[in-house]
Structures are given as structure tokens and as C-alpha cells.
Amino acid sequence: MATAEEIAAEEFSGVVTKHRPQIFRFLLASTRDADLAETLTQECFLKAHRNWAGFRGESSAMTWLMRIAINLQKDHWRSRRMQFWRLTQTHAVDLDEASDWLPSGERSAEQKLLARERVGQVSKAVAKLSERQRTMFLLRYVEEMDLAEIARTTGVNEGTVKAHLSRALTRVRAELGGQR
């Protein structure tokens, strides 16, 4: 017969399998660095594992994990080492980018090029957003969360989420040349 600890371990293992790709994707989109995203994802699940007993299921496991990931990412950017990192990242030429991984689909070469250019501009605009705006933008347009979920995950009210998203979209539009 399985003990309570074994059951909890099995449960947590299921949570990792289910949510790891999403957490990693969010962190990758946010940091634009695969190694850093991988490290932060591991830290996130390590932290979650340590506190798994305290998780009372008031929110979904995904919301809880995403909150941990957001906090980790915040701490990371704030740390001194990351200040240097951010500087390097800002000036570095990105070789791995969302635009390099666009699914080809049934499109002409010109269409592909245009799509790649547009996605590159979105990436650039997202990188220039404030930390909070970027988080909300990614939760909305990459993780496809609704406003209520974003509010729960980030710990702010829906109005604030709306305001941040609106500002973020305005900046993305401006980068895409839609500002008139």
C-alpha cells in the first residue's frame, strides 16, 4: 500500500509532466534565453516541490506554478548579475528568436519573409516592454489566459491587467508601424 508521501510524490510528478512545457515556454518568451529559461524552470519546480505540502489547491496548480515562475524571473532580473545580463542581452544579436521558428505552412517565400519580419518586430517590442507589461502580454497572447486568470496569477485586479495590456498592445502596434 502506498504511503501519503508516495502519493504526493506521484501527484507532483504528474504536475511537472503536465505543466513543465508551459512554464518553460513562458520563461523562454520572457527571457529569450533557452539556458536561462531551463534553469529558472528547474528552480520553479524545485521551489514548488519544497512547498507542495503547503499547496491547498485554492488556485489551480498552473496558476500557482506560474506565480512562482514570475517571482523567480523578477528576482533574477533584479539581481546584480542579471543587470549585467540584461545589458548584454539588450545589445546582443539574437540568434534564437521566435521569428526563426515560424512554422512554414502553405505560404509563399515573400509571405514567409513578411511574417518573419512582423514576428521579429513583435519580439523586439516585447523586449522593450516593462517587466509587468511583458508578463501580462505573454500570459495573454502566448499562454492565452483570460483576464481573470492573469489577475489571479499576477495578484492584481482585472482593471490593472486591462490597463497594462492596453499599453503593451499600443507599444507593439507602434513597433509594427500601426501608430497613426
Binding site: 512545457p21 518553460f24 515556454r25 523562454l28 529559461a37 515560424l102 511574417a115
Partner: protein, 136 residues
């Protein structure tokens, strides 16, 4: 670019499409990044012997060179100081000799002038007579 023209509706449609493409790109990137092997830098446990020897050799050369340069500078400075001190002593000697010679010459000149002005007492009346004649 197409975003610069067209109606607001078109613009929103195109923005929505672009955001979908952005999402698809992030998805594909994340999937690829998750399955890629992570590079781990493995350093050799021991450095090759020749590198170790070269390191020691270079260190020794640097230490010996540094010490030699220091000693040479010290000796050179001492020599220069000695030469300078000798020059000063010599200069002082020359000045003192010149001063002594000058004093001696002054004294002799004074003695000469004192001696030449005095007339022996036996010749005094003659000297007065000569001075009287010259008045006349």
C-alpha cells in the same frame, strides 16, 4: 508595411494574425529548446605537464627579472648619490680656496697701502720743505 495602410478593422485583424504567428514561433522555439541537448563544458582535471612547466618557468623568469631590476636600480641610485656628494664637496673646496686667496690678496694690498703712505720720521722736515716749494 501593410500595418501602415488599411482600415482599423484590417489593422486589428493583421495584428491578431501577427500575434498568432508570434505565439506559434514561441511554441516551436520552446519545443525545440526543450529537446535539445544542453551543452556542458568539461574541463580536464589536470593540466598538461608542459603547460605546468612553462608556467613555473615564466614565473621564475619574472621573479628573477623583477629582483635584478630592483637591485640594479638600487645600486645605480647609490652610485649617482656618491658622485653628486663628491661634486658638492669639490665645489665647496674650490669656493673656499678662492675665498682664502681673495682674503690674502686684500690683506697684502692693505699692508702695501699703509706702508706706502707712512714717511719715516727722519725724513719729515724734508717732506715739509718739498711740500712748501711746490706751493710756491
Amino acid at each position: 508595411m501593410s500595418f501602415e495602410s488599411g482600415t482599423s478593422e484590417e489593422l486589428d485583424r493583421e495584428l491578431a494574425e501577427t500575434l498568432q504567428e508570434y505565439r506559434a514561433g514561441i511554441n516551436a522555439w520552446a519545443e525545440a529548446a526543450m529537446v535539445r541537448p544542453r551543452a556542458v563544458e568539461v574541463r580536464p582535471a589536470h593540466r598538461p605537464i608542459w603547460r605546468l612547466a612553462a608556467g613555473w618557468g615564466l614565473s621564475c623568469v619574472l621573479v628573477v627579472g623583477g629582483l635584478s631590476a630592483g637591485a640594479y636600480t638600487h645600486v645605480h641610485r647609490q652610485q649617482m648619490a656618491k658622485i653628486a656628494a663628491a661634486r658638492v664637496v669639490e665645489q665647496q673646496k674650490v669656493v673656499a680656496e678662492a675665498r682664502a686667496q681673495q682674503e690674502e690678496e686684500d690683506l697684502l694690498a692693505q699692508v702695501d697701502s699703509d706702508v706706502s703712505r707712512e714717511v719715516p720720521s727722519a725724513m719729515e722736515p724734508l717732506a715739509q720743505l718739498m711740500s712748501g716749494d711746490s706751493i710756491r
